[in-house]
Amino acid sequence: MNSTNNVDFLKSLVEEKYKVNKTEVIDQYQISFEVEQVEVHRLLSELKLEGWKQLSYLSAIDWIDENEFEMVYIVFNWDRPVHVQIRTRIDRDKPVMNSIMPIFEGCKYYEREAHEMFGIKFPGNPDHEKQLVLEEWDDMPPLRKDFDPQAYSDRKFPVREYNNDFVELNGKKSKQKDRLKRAERIEQVGKRGNK
């Protein structure tokens, strides 16, 4: 029961029954499938029957360019040590994904965190709307790509103003000015980079 045929077993198991958009074997212990949003629940329950009882993680990836979220479910089987990642693409504007509470009870807090960080709604999970980590948060969900922490920080937290009185100190020219110019340049590159 070495790990290679585990991966083949999985591939055969999933690809026959489900329309798999993309499969990727990261290494002998990790495999990821991308399936349609509708089939996720059936696939997860089948994997669970096969032995993948543990829901290791549930989160989302924000593809802002394609205006989509990618939900990622990682399940793990203790007998056949393979991490299976189930990925689906859901719409970004109205992100709704049915909760997998009936299959994996443990997803309650993951879904709550996903809602808090990405704003994805999970009907079926009773308290997914509640606040989990962020206290008194008054802005858009922070892990969305279009959220700018720098702006938030500047807006909320005053920055210490330094007075440049010690430009010339006992004869040596202060390097303060070129330091500021370099910081400015880095910032520009940072902003342009992700456009």
């Binding site: 206290e135 008194e136 008054d138 922490p149 938030y152 920080s153 937290f157 005053p158 920055v159 210490r160």
Partner: protein, 192 residues
Amino acid sequence: MESTKYTQPVALSKKQVDRKWWEIGDFFRRNSLWMLMYCTGCCAIELPPAMTSAYDMERLGMGPMATPRQADVLLVTGYLSLKTLRRLIYTYEQMSEPKYVVGFGSCTINGGIYHDSHAVINQLDQYIPVDSYVAGCMPNTEAVMNGFVDLIELIKNKKANGWKNYHTNNAWYKKNQIDALGEVRIKDEFHQ
């Protein structure tokens, strides 16, 4: 040089007597500074070397104490996220007067490497009065010891009255706190 001729002792006013008592109190206060064992951030790793044999904080009369009621010095070691800041303010208000705050590391000075994060405040001074800072991103132990000696000097020269400022311009501090944190004492599902 003052003259050494004997002069009639002049009766001190009530205020002056209190002043004298306060100076004596300062001597005791600066020679037995108890720090509160509350390591808020990553600079706290610098405290054990300060206590052990190389630098020995105890010879300055400083030792760790468990509760804010007993402690004099609040060491703010490292970055301060919003949640930690709320607890820090609550603890600071529980400490008995006169109390001092020492800011460790650049995160308390100008936000340090987390200056652009949405969760970390950039300047501790806005929220609670800080008496002395120790610069450096993870300041060296000598720097930490210097910070303590600076604090002792400040107390000696009667300049370490951050706790007085907290009383005098309390409104300003409170406003800053509300701006940054929204509300210091939160009431939610986890805090009935």
